[in-house]
């Protein structure tokens, strides 16, 4: 029987006993809980497994790229970690906090940039970010100070007073990115972050990935744009058919699923 590509020596494949490397930030405490730890994580949609037993451990402070074909389960994994959806089976934890048991604590540590921007068309760019700041718990003075800074950072200062309805897809993406910056998370979940961005937007995204990497923020990036992440990612995780089929790089540990869930079969009716 051929060896599974993820099969590793027992000591390396036991996430709970691994001593994790400290993040890059100076003075960060050693042996932090992993930024992401999933165990046999599965999610079914209408009986079909989008994730089928993912056991994955990502130490804090790493930039990890999720790769795989469409339907591999990248978005589903990100959405579970962001607490947008619940796991069907298994468990997932962010900074040691279970996403099902402590969703609010997980939400206060994560920022998720999804395919959809989650913006309000009839509000201006400033109003959208100010609303997000209130929802994130920023004080009024802090909001007043940071919103213009963030808008400037994402290159939308000149259109700050305009309604989002008239924004292009790239501008909307930048504004959604601004919301991520307001959050100051410890785990950033990015789903195709380079989509719809122009050259300046791509440069901005690359700079942000570098900045997060330097400051010890963990970034989990699902993207096909390998050329923009290649030099920045510490590791890449290959997903296919809802399972991890390969890991490259340093620090990330994955295990193959203990059981391979099968899609629900249609009931056959005798003629």
């Amino acid at each position: 029987m051929p060896e599974h590509p993820l099969r590793e020596p027992a000591s390396a494949s036991m996430p709970q006993t691994t001593i994790y490397a400290s993040p890059r930030s100076v003075g960060a405490p050693e042996q932090l809980p992993p930024a992401v730890a999933t165990r046999e994580l599965a999610r079914l949609f209408g009986g079909h497994p989008a994730l089928a037993g993912v056991t994955l451990t990502i130490p804090a402070g790493r930039c990890v790229q999720l790769v795989g074909p469409n339907g591999a389960g990248k978005t589903t994994l990100l959405r579970i970690l962001a607490t947008a959806i619940r796991p069907s089976f298994g468990s997932a934890a962010v900074d040691g906090l279970d996403v099902s048991a402590h969703p609010d604590l997980v939400r206060s540590r994560t920022a998720y940039l999804s395919h959809e921007t989650g913006l309000y068309d009839d509000l201006t760019a400033t109003e959208n970010l100010s609303f997000a700041a209130t929802m994130l718990g920023l004080e009024r003075d802090d909001t007043r100070e940071r919103v213009p800074d963030v808008l400037d950072e994402v290159g939308l200062a000149e259109v700050a007073a305009l309604r989002v309805r008239g924004f292009s897809a790239g501008m909307r993406r930048r504004l959604a990115l601004g919301r991520v910056l307001l959050a100051r998370p410890s785990l950033v979940l990015l789903d195709e972050p380079f989509a719809a961005l122009d050259e300046a937007g791509i440069q901005l995204m690359e700079d942000l990935l570098d900045r997060w990497r330097r400051s010890g923020v963990t970034a989990l990036v699902a993207s096909h744009a390998t050329e923009h992440i290649a030099g920045r990612a510490d590791a890449s995780v290959q997903l296919e058919g809802g399972v991890v089929v390969g890991v490259e790089g340093d620090g990330v540990i994955a295990r193959p699923p203990a059981h391979q869930p099968q899609p629900r079969r249609a009931i056959e009716v005798a003629p």
Partner: protein, 229 residues
């Protein structure tokens, strides 16, 4: 920031955001108002010129207009969340779900109050009803009715927000539940306009207040489960 202050701040931010969107999306607000006015106008014509008949029907028609237009409003305050994944983003903020419900219910009640402020004078004109002497009680009735309706409407807008046929489902779910509220509101309005000859006004107002409390508690306690996938 204390928990209470944070929850109030979140609720106000949601209500303010929805109010801005509603004011800027003028077409929807104008069509809701026009619809409510048309309900009063058409029923007024259908009932004929008999002043006594018009005065008797006025409380019922006022609340019919308020409820129909209110349904459109509470539905729309959730519909803005369906644009470009806004609802999912709203649920990903680290906030108490009860404060989201409170914000949505507050803007729903406010919309009903604005509608009430416009429809009551319209009712007075169309149905030749003297509302001036009953204004304080009438205002209290509209406030209590608006809160109760917004409490139920917001809850069911949360139930239907992810449905494709939400515009159809919302009235089907809300109207049976608000039947006691409608009954109490119509009776209280009628009693207020006629000078409460049988002394029944306090009982109807108590029923309205009780309905509001029960529905607000039930809605706030369960809304979080509805909006999360």
């Amino acid at each position: 920031m204390s928990v209470l202050r944070r929850n109030v701040s979140v609720a106000l931010a949601i209500a303010r955001k929805d109010a801005i969107a509603e004011v800027r999306g003028k077409q929807a607000a104008v069509s809701t108002l026009t619809f409510a006015a048309l309900v009063l106008l058409l029923f007024g014509f259908a009932l004929g010129p008999d002043p006594r008949r018009l005065a008797d029907a006025a409380p019922g028609l006022l609340w019919l207009g308020l409820v129909f237009a209110g349904l459109l409003a509470v539905g729309r305050f959730h519909e803005v969340e369906t644009e470009d994944g806004a609802l999912e983003q709203l649920t990903l903020y680290p906030v108490d779900r009860r404060s989201i419900y409170a914000g949505k219910a507050a803007i729903g009640a406010l919309a009903m109050l604005v509608l009430g402020a416009l429809l009551v004078p319209l009712m007075a004109i169309l149905f030749a009803v003297d509302v001036v002497h009953a204004l304080p009680v009438l205002a209290l009735t509209v406030v209590l009715g608006a809160i109760g309706f917004a409490a139920v409407g917001t809850f069911y807008a949360g139930v239907t927000v992810r449905m494709r046929a939400r515009e159809v489902m919302l009235p089907l779910l809300v109207l049976p539940i608000v039947a006691p509220l409608l009954l109490a509101a119509v009776k209280a309005t009628s009693a207020a306009l006629t000078g409460d000859p049988f002394g029944e006004l306090p009982a109807w107002l108590e029923l309205l207040a009780g309905f509001d409390v029960v529905m607000l508690i039930a809605g706030a306690g369960t809304y979080g489960f509805l909006v999360e996938e």
